[in-house]
């Protein structure tokens, strides 16, 4: 018997499951091989030592802790069993595909995207109801945005000018109200000034 064969059989020897002839062959190998003899002594010494070692006992409260952390007991396991009525094919297919899309964050994100696009379309003067393929031409979209932005700018400027005029007229009227000596001559002069301004 070689040392490799000895090592293979050693576990079974320790277990007492070797056949008689194998056991004899193994034991006859030992006296001529110091390394295998040492290995066998170590292995059997340790195995005998294990007999002296008591079992590790868990503390009594451990089981309570474990049961406490699974307080719903086996009912909870049963709840997850496939005892529920089977889902229809429609639900299996569409439920699986769209389930993730129907989460609140995705719905909110989708709503914000639609709102942004609708605001952009409104700003670019694109009417979704009468939308044609030619309306989606980038050049046309750009022209629409450019045109609209100019109109907005012009409107803002006009509003600003008008507002300045109104404030000026109001301040002049206030001055006339406070200074009655100029009430006779001034209105004409002021009117001509206003006309030239316009």
């Amino acid at each position: 018997m070689t040392c490799a064969e000895f090592e293979i059989l050693l576990c079974d020897y320790v277990d007492g499951t070797l056949r008689a002839e194998e056991k004899t062959a193994l034991e006859s190998h030992l006296p001529g091989c110091a390394a295998c003899k040492q290995l066998a002594e170590d292995v059997m010494g340790v195995t005998a030592f294990f007999e002296r070692v008591p079992q590790a006992e868990p503390p009594a409260e451990l089981m309570t802790r474990i049961l406490h952390h699974a307080p719903r007991g086996p009912g909870a396991i049963a709840e997850r069993l496939p005892s529920d009525p089977p889902r229809s094919w429609g639900k299996r297919i569409f439920g699986g595909i769209f389930q993730s899309w129907l989460q609140p964050r995705y719905v909110m994100g989708m709503a914000m995207t639609i709102l942004s696009f609708s605001m952009l379309a409104r700003f670019a003067h694109i009417e979704p109801r009468q939308l044609r393929a030619s309306d989606l031409d980038p050049v046309k979209v750009w022209q629409g945005i450019d045109d609209h932005s100019h109109r907005v700018y012009d409107r803002a400027m006009k509003y600003y000018d008008n507002l300045r005029l109104v404030i000026e007229i109001q301040s002049r009227l206030q001055e006339w109200t406070n200074d009655p000596s100029q009430n006779g001559a001034a209105p004409g002069a002021r009117t001509s000034e206003r006309g030239s301004q316009k």
Partner: protein, 213 residues
């Protein structure tokens, strides 16, 4: 070549391991799992009561820490609770399934705490010096159970995780080779080889602690 006579008494080896696990205990496990899955309230408690000692023992021998072993045992049963449906009685024994789950959790824990152990190893080296001088009393070979347990714990920590888990599963939990092979996902030959090496290293570690084998 002259053969050296070895005393017959020394080599007349009586195996400490049970040869066959009773079929009653296997049936009981399967029935318990079935009862658990059918929603019987007492079955889960029985399952926990029946297997807590084994799971705790493996965790304690592997980690050498009672608090860690308790936490890991709790984690194992939480995982069992969540995954009990995935156990198939036809594909193997419940004990094998449970031990594999425990072992996987232990390996995860071992990898997670690798850095902590690296710093602790320096403290171990200094305590080992004290251990060698204070262990003269152990040479009589008559160790009390508790002391034997502590010595074994210290020696087990010197083994690599692969050898340690193999020795624990065979020598302490008395699982069969094919069960250990399934749990560790290695061939039976590898299990036996690791077992030989693990036991030999353990013997050396115990001798260093002045234990006479």
């Amino acid at each position: 070549m002259a053969t050296v006579a070895i005393p017959a008494a020394k080599w007349s080896w009586e195996s400490p391991y049970p040869q066959v696990r009773t079929t009653n205990s296997l049936d009981a496990d399967v029935q318990l799992v079935e009862r658990c899955l059918s929603g019987q309230e007492a079955a889960w408690e029985d399952l926990v009561r029946l297997h807590t000692r084994r799971v705790y023992s493996i965790c304690y021998r592997f980690t050498n820490s009672d608090p860690e072993a308790q936490d890991l045992t709790q984690d194992v049963f939480l995982r069992v609770f969540k995954n009990l449906r995935s156990f198939r009685a036809g594909e193997g024994l419940f004990i094998v399934w449970l031990t594999r789950l425990t072992r996987n959790l232990l390996i995860d824990h071992y990898r997670r705490t690798r850095m902590d152990r690296a710093t602790e190893s320096i403290e171990d080296q200094t305590s080992a010096l004290e251990e060698n001088t204070a262990a003269i009393a152990r040479t009589d070979g008559m160790l009390a159970g508790r002391e034997a347990s502590e010595l074994l714990q210290a020696a087990l920590q010197k083994l690599s995780p692969e050898l340690r888990e193999t020795v624990i599963l065979r020598d302490l939990e008395e699982l069969e080779y094919r069960e250990i092979a399934k749990i560790l996902n290695v061939p039976e030959g590898t299990v036996k080889s690791r077992l030989n090496r693990g036991r030999a290293e353990l013997a050396k570690a115990l001798r260093r602690q002045k234990v006479r084998l």
